[in-house]
Symmetry: C2
Subunit: 147 residues, 2 copies
DNA sequence: TTAATTGCAAATGTTTTGCATTGGA
DNA sequence: TCCAATGCAAAACATTTGCAATTAA
């Protein structure tokens, strides 16, 4: 949190209460993939006067500073969460098509695949996004007991 | 094309000229990742009376019938293209951060990774999406010559 | 003090929907 | 014939922007 404040300061941005509250909501919800609207609702509990536009502007700022990630699971809404410290790449996601749950995979499973892409396609990889769609463990168990 | 018409028929949908033209545009632009607006513009050349809503409805229909893929490269616009016949999974995409080009990777590079996910997370994988962000070969060469 | 930041409302851009009309089966 | 499909305009969304008022540094 303090590192982030320093980073804002160093980049010449002001530390407003709106930004502080938005940051704390993001910190309390690491890896929860909240939408801007979700974040707005939670921020309003602590700071009711805030406007949605300010939340969007803060999220954009944090994204530009590479403090948060922005993901997009195909439902037309961007979702945000704190970057794992030191992560050079996005996490992988497992999305359950049954219950909608999003599971975070922190390992980098793509090292070998990146090597293939760089070699076969002469494509210099900077980052990647990997999402699996399928059925989570709990839903598999539920389905079995229903049959 | 005829297979698709049959499929529409079997599912009880009518074969309208609007749908035929939209299909032919999609067929002529396999793997080009056109947006609904792109498709609308091209369809209008052959069928000027068509409305944008009809294009959206046709795309949704073809997507539900699993005839086309719908992808989303983070610019807020859905992009559509024909599924490779027999493909059980989405292709991988390489997106050049410099020129915006999208390169299609038809190989399935994720077999081993899926095995790991299924084992370690007990997650039954049905499909996957893999996107690499980086610099394409041409842009790498261009950058070198600029330095 | 003063330029950055905010809140609001209006604008934007994509996609969806209501409804009267049309047309494929 | 008759219900599915269409075109249009309006609505519904997420997100961005203009601008006057406010505020952190």
């Amino acid at each position: 949190m303090n590192t982030v404040k320093e980073q804002l300061h160093k980049s010449g941005y002001k530390l407003t209460p709106q930004r502080e509250v938005t940051l704390s909501v993001l910190l309390e919800n690491k890896s929860k993939h909240l939408s801007a609207e979700d974040i707005f609702q939670r921020v309003k509990e602590q700071y009711p006067e805030i406007g949605l536009a300010t939340v969007y502007r803060t999220l954009e700022l944090l994204y530009d500073l590479k403090i948060i990630d922005k993901a997009n699971f195909g439902d037309g809404v961007s979702r945000y969460d704190f970057k794992q410290s030191g992560a050079k790449h996005y996490n992988h996601h497992l999305i359950c098509v049954n219950c909608g749950k999003v599971i975070e995979v922190e390992d980098d499973l793509l090292y070998d695949v990146e090597k293939i892409v760089e070699h076969d396609y002469k494509f210099k990889v900077l980052n990647h996004r990997l999402t699996f769609h399928g059925v989570c463990r709990e839903c598999q168990l539920k389905d079995e007991s229903n049959e």
